[in-house]
Amino acid sequence: MDRRGFNKLVTLALFAFGVGCSGTTSSEVLVSAAASLTDAFAEVEAAFETANPGVDVVLNLGSSSSLRQQILEGAPADVFASANSSNMDQVVAGGEAVGEPTTFALNLLQIAVPAGNPAGITGLQDFANEDLLIGLCAEDVPCGDFGRQALANAGVIAAIDTNEPDVRALLTKIEAGELDAGITYVTDVRSAGGAVEGIVIPDDVNVVATYPIVRLTSAPNPDGAAAFVTFVLSGPGQTILASYGFTSP
């Protein structure tokens, strides 16, 4: 193992044991980001590091609620990017945020159908059809909550056949052609490649997920944190996010 790798390992170990952040070099930016940002932020990280030589972005990915818990329990991080406002609000209320969070991305809902749309789904009204196999995320998962809101907005009482534990499980069953349709985020449809097709849900019934970002008060690297947030909100940052299906606020 080379010296740099060893240093990285020591830093990680320090994080893991919560010993503190004295081992963190000023050139490292630790970003706690929602799991749905995994692919997009990997590219943002690469672009940011190219633009800022010597800076190393470390992504800590997880569900927004578990990241919120980590931050409130004192785990060191420079930036928090959440997939919804409720977890961000709790971080702000806990006094961990520097100033007000900024919304950096929006994620719209889309109807996801298997490639070729074998059931001929055209819109949310098809979700009431008893003869089709329809899946949603479970009610308590954000995508399930938003999906139900969209159905309610459209006045559709859905004939649901399964409430999947998360959006990944729902997509798998749509990809396999076992479900005729489900409701996911635009970014999920995009990430599934050609196996899944998206059908647009009209703006007047669609539900928008907002992604806020903020610097943290306990940031070991406040300058790096500020630079990263600025980059995400900048033109190049927004272009990368758009390529993954996110909408600019």
């Binding site: 196999l133 899946g135 479970a138 009610e139 308590d140 998962v141 649901i160 056949d161 399964t162 409430n163 999947e164 534990p165 499980a169 798998t172 069953k173 396999a176 052609g177 076992e178």
Partner: protein, 269 residues
């Protein structure tokens, strides 16, 4: 079990290191249970357990786990007999295949079932075209998933018993003029009965607690495919008290069955 006194006499007390390590081993099982008990909202228990989600899930869990056990008995005993008594080529491979669900992550099993028996699956598509039957997202799908995961317990228990059985008893019965079925019914099955019952109990208990294959293959819908473990998982996100209460029911039911049957039949294992 501990009748071999002569050898043990010299060492009445077990070595300290054994006690410490064994005790730690026991804690691995006990601590999570204590955690559950500490977190249980005892006073609200009746109210939490009488909700329609819990009642539906309990009914579905009992029906599907018993159905899976019955199917496992119907097909698993003959399979065990073939594996124990017929020397066919590839027998060790068959043994491996049968025990695979024991070590496979149930989610992987569920996905495999989906690709094989789903509406667009290898077997599922012709099945659907011929009969209109769709297994995923149906109660029958839950039974299929739990059978897949639980049946190995029956097969390996019964196979082990058949292999250890002294075949001279069967031979004697046959010599005395008993036909094949009579031998099976009057000699073989009674002799392996303890193992058979132990296998059935283990199979049922595994089916009752099945989660991963069920949610992956059969989905999650109250009253149709949402068994108790699925109800617990979903409730953990929103209603932790209900999740804990249902978990407690599962622990109590399983423990009663396992402890009650242990002394009578588990010696066979």
């Amino acid at each position: 079990m501990n009748d071999d006194k002569p050898q043990r006499r010299s060492e009445r007390r077990p070595a300290l290191v054994l006690v410490v390590l064994g005790g730690l081993g026991l804690l691995v099982f006990v601590v999570p249970l204590v955690g559950l008990l500490v977190r249980t909202p005892w006073s609200r228990l009746p109210e939490l357990l009488s909700g329609d989600v819990v009642i539906d899930a309990l009914r579905l869990s009992l029906v599907t786990s018993l159905a899976a056990t019955a199917i496992a008995a119907l097909m698993g005993v003959p399979l065990a007999w073939l594996m124990a008594r017929v020397d066919f080529p590839g027998r060790s491979i068959v043994r491996g295949l049968v025990t695979l669900p024991l070590v496979l992550p149930p989610v992987v099993g569920g996905a495999a079932l989906l690709f094989a028996l789903g509406r667009r699956g290898l077997v599922g598509e012709p099945l659907n075209e011929a009969t209109g039957l769709v297994l995923p997202f149906s109660t029958l799908g839950v039974v299929v998933a739990t059978t897949f995961v639980a049946m190995p317990f029956l097969v390996i228990t019964v196979e082990g018993a058949l292999r250890n059985l002294d075949q001279r008893y069967e031979g004697a019965a046959a010599t005395l003029g008993a036909g094949r079925w009579t031998v099976l019914r009057r000699v073989t099955l009674p002799m392996i009965a303890p193992s058979l019952v132990a296998g059935l109990v283990l199979t049922w208990a595994r089916a009752f607690g099945e989660f991963g294959a069920t949610i992956t293959f059969a989905g999650n819908l109250q009253g149709r495919t949402q068994t108790l473990p699925l109800a617990v998982f979903v409730a953990l996100e929103s209603d932790r008290d209900t999740a804990v209460a249902v978990s407690l029911v599962m622990v109590v039911v399983s423990l009663i069955v396992l402890v009650a049957l242990r002394d009578r039949w588990w010696r066979a294992l």
